[in-house]
Structure formats: C-alpha cells, structure tokens
C-alpha cells in the first residue's frame, strides 16, 4: 500500500522551534559539540541543518558533522580562546532560521518478514500489535533523513510511528546482515555493514546505498525523504 502525501501532511506540519538555550561542549581542543534544546523533532533538526549550512562556510572550519538535533564543528586549528568559538556557535544557533532541505525522494524496496526479520516477534510483543500491523505501520510512514553517521552511508531516519518505537537491545546481535531494515528507539534505518548491531530487524533491503568509488559515495543526504516500499511480505 502506498501512502499519499495528504495523509501525512498533518504529521509534517512545522511548528516554530522554541529558541531555548543551546549547550556547547568540547571534544578535545579542536572539536565543539552544540546540542539543541528541546525535543527530538523535525523543527529542531531543521535549525541544525540551517546552522550546518552557515557554519560550514566559516573560514576556520575544517569539517562539520550534523547529528541528531546536535552539531559537531571541527576547527582547522585549536583556537586561542575556546569561549569565543562557543559564543559564535551559540549566536549562529540563535540566528539559525528553520530551513527545509529540498532533498530527493528515495524509495527502498523491502522484503518484510522472512529470515532477516529476526526481531519482528519482539517488536510485536513490545507494541502489542500483530506482525501485519507492524509492517503496515512501518511502510506507510514517510521518513526524513536527519543525519548520516555511524557507518558509511547510514542514514538516521526520523518519522517512525510511536506505536512501533522499539528500544535498542541491551545485548546487541553479534552479526546482523548488511541490508537489514531496523528500528532503534524512535528511529529507523537500513544496516550498512554486517556486524554487531543493537537495533531491531524487521526486514531486508537489497538497495546499494554506499559506493566509495563514486563522487557522491552516499545515496542518502540529510533532508532526503525515504519511503519503504514492500517488495514482499513474508509473515
């Protein structure tokens, strides 16, 4: 079933983010982490995107890493006075207007259930929903790529229906296959590497999403819209 955008429109309504105080901390001498106040939501993330676009053009910036409603700025050189950098970042945050990244739409065919859906029974148990309902709720939603990180090309997707929030495992799976479609807390995503993984798998996607030899190695970018399209449902 494909969801039309008008069903989702109310979920995507943008309310202005409250301009609370951001917090800045140090990681070593050259990296500064700004954490947005308030909820883990799209309005906060839209201001992180805006902040990221501003700060990446500062002449003394080597690299910026937008996270989940937070932002790491890595300077080219250790600053003489770190407090000046903190003030500049807070000021940039305060001035950051919510922006919406245009982004592209990525459709990811998913084989729901089956041998890779090792955690689907646990998700059903935790949510009190049937496997069919869990799968339907997962593929009917429209997701936004908030940020990339953790593994090459891995996108943290926001927009998971709260009915299927599922805590990360306390003991990670030692070997989860690359391609597993997973839920981690209030986020969802597709595993990019085979290996230890604490998220919960409910399906499998074959789509290649990272190519180190490409000029644009990662398929996903912040702001992209992602839809999971059931290629097969095996329950």
């Amino acid at each position: 079933m494909i969801v039309t955008s008008n069903i989702l429109a109310p979920l995507r309504e943008i309310v202005p983010a409250t301009k609370g105080r951001a917090r800045v901390s140090f990681i070593g001498a050259r990296a500064f982490l700004l954490e947005a106040p308030g909820d883990f939501d799209l309005p906060a993330q839209r201001r992180i995107w805006a902040l990221s676009q501003t700060v990446r053009h500062w002449v003394d910036i080597a690299e910026v890493i937008p996270g989940m409603t937070n932002f790491l700025a890595i300077l080219k050189e250790t600053p003489e006075d770190p407090e000046i950098v903190v003030r500049r970042l807070v000021e940039a945050w305060n001035n950051a207007e919510s922006i919406d990244l245009a982004g592209k739409t990525i459709e990811i065919p998913v084989h729901y259930g089956g041998e890779y859906a090792i955690d689907l029974p646990a998700i059903c148990e935790f949510s009190g929903l049937s496997d069919r309902e869990v799968v339907r709720i997962h593929h009917e939603a429209t997701y936004r790529v908030f940020a990339l990180g953790s593994a090459p090309g891995f996108g943290y997707l926001h927009g998971l229906d709260p009915r299927i929030y599922m805590p990360r495992k306390t003991v990670p799976s030692l070997r989860m296959e690359k391609g597993c479609v997973t839920i981690g807390g209030m986020q969802t995503g597709v595993a990019m590497l085979t290996g230890p993984n604490g998220w919960n798998s409910l399906g499998y996607a074959e789509l290649q999403m990272f190519d180190p030899t490409s000029p644009t190695p990662a398929l996903m970018a912040p702001g992209d819209t992602v839809r999971f399209v059931p290629a097969r449902i095996e329950l």
Partner: protein, 331 residues
Amino acid sequence: MIEIIETGPFNTVQDLGRPGYRDIGVSASGAMDPLAVRIGNILVGNDDGAAAIEVQTFPFKLRFEARAVFAVTGADGHPMLDARELLPWCTHFAEAGQILELRQPLTRARAYVVLGGGLDVPVLMGSRSTALRGGFGGNGGRPLINGDRIEIGTHSDGLPLPASGIAVVEPAVALDDVFPAPIDGVLPIRAIAGGEHELFASDGEAFWNQTWRISSRSDRTGYRLSGEPIKPTATIEMRSHGVVPGVIQVPPGGEPIIQMSDANTAGGYPKIAGIIECDLWRLGQARIGSRLRFIRSTHAEARAVEQAAARYIEDVRQTSQMIKRALKAMA
C-alpha cells in the same frame, strides 16, 4: 613493487587519513602515529601524506623487487635489511631482492615503513588509508597478508639522498620538553573535560586521579581502559552526535573507551573528557597492558604543543631539503 613475505594480522596501508567524510558516516582512519608517517615521508622526499605500511603485529618482512629508498619510523629498535641492522628514523637504500625485517619493538606499539614515492594504491575519498570497517581503501580494504604485492609510486621531490642516509632526532627525544616521558611507566596523556564530566560528580576526580591500564580489547578503533569503574550520577539518554578520535566515553560498565584512528563517526555514551589531538600519537604508540594517567589540559596548552610539533616538522623539512640540495649541487 614490494612483496609482503611475512605479516601478522592487522597490518595495513595508512596515510594521514580521510577526514571530511564523517558527515556521511566514514571514519577518518589514518596512521595511529601520524607524526611518524609525516617525518618518514619528509625524509624520503614524499608529500607528507603519502601512504605507508603501519606494522602493529610483528615480525614483519617484505621483499623489494626493485631498488628503493625507505625509512622505518615510529617504533624503537632496529629494523634489519637482509642480515644488517639499520638505524630507525633514517633513510636507506634497498636493492632488488633485499628483505626488510621488523622485529617486535622494545617498548612501542607501531612501526611505519615509508617508501620513496609512497605506496601506489588507489585514492578513495582523498586518502589511501585502509578503512577496515567499511572494507575499502588501502590494499583492497583489508589488512595485508603474505604474498600481497604493492606498487611503489613515483611522486617524490626527486632530490638525491646521501648514501649514508639522512636521520632525524625522533620526536619523543627532540620534543621531550613538550611531550613528558612516562613517570614510573605511567604515560601522562593530556585531556580537556568533556560534555558530561559534571555528571560523574566525585567519580570525575577518580577519572583524573587513577592510573588506567590499556586492556587487551583495544585496537585501531578504540582503546578500552581497565581500572576502578566510574559511574555517572544519572543515566541520560543521549542523542547520537559526531565524535572524533580522542573522545573518552564511559559506557554503562564504567570503564572508559578512547576512540582512536578508526573511531566511529557517531556516539552516544557520556563523554568525560577528550584527549588533545597532539597527544594521540603517543597513545598510538602505547602498548596493550601499559598504563596511563590523564592530565587536565587547556586549549592554550594544546596550541603550544601543536606549535612546537609544527616547528619540529618544519625544521626537519628545511634541514633535509638543504642537505639534499647541497648534494645535488655537488653532483
């Protein structure tokens, strides 16, 4: 061309890394002792960022298939060319067929084999470093194995080297005023308090006051420390954020983890501190089982140390160029 004759696991091709792609989840990687790679490259006439072999499991042997210039930097102890002991931190010539052997260093963890022209493996995302986790870069995205053959590049400054070689006073000695030596076997490592330091209350002081041991579950990704566990006063649910090598995170067990060269790009454990970048090479040379203590540092101190290291690098560059130019003029 060189051929790997004997190698243990986890020896890889590394350069100064591929920073700049953490925003798409790609670790920077690169040498655990970047200072050693940089100095080695300057000596043999390469760009600072040419690719070298990082050897962390010994013994290691390679055969030269053609005449080449090389230097072995980083570790202590003497490399062997056929049966002859060589000076480390010094350029040498190898003839076709000769075998270079690196034995277990006396106290340090990693040696770098730097070749004139650098290792000619493909550049991916601006670097020749091996990304072990992603399985790309370096030599086929994996550690070296016996029988691997790697091409040597041709890009170097083209200046002649004296037959007797050019040697440097290694950084640990030349910069002993800015890099304090271990005291009773305990390596002092400088760090700046991190975002969740306050959350550890009195355990925050326990972090700075105790001696930590580098556990056997340590590798290029991270060092796990053993010691008296430290616990935050509250459990907080952190949102994933970018991290860099040197970040000291405290997982629920209370024993800190230091992210190293193959650091994950994102993290969510409370951060008690972050090591100043210019001390990371010393940690890269610290062995499993060795002890360290964290010293509170400041941005001003980090800057002073960085500037001293930069002056040393420039001094090595100027001096070696001067010698090579004089040699060329005499020829």
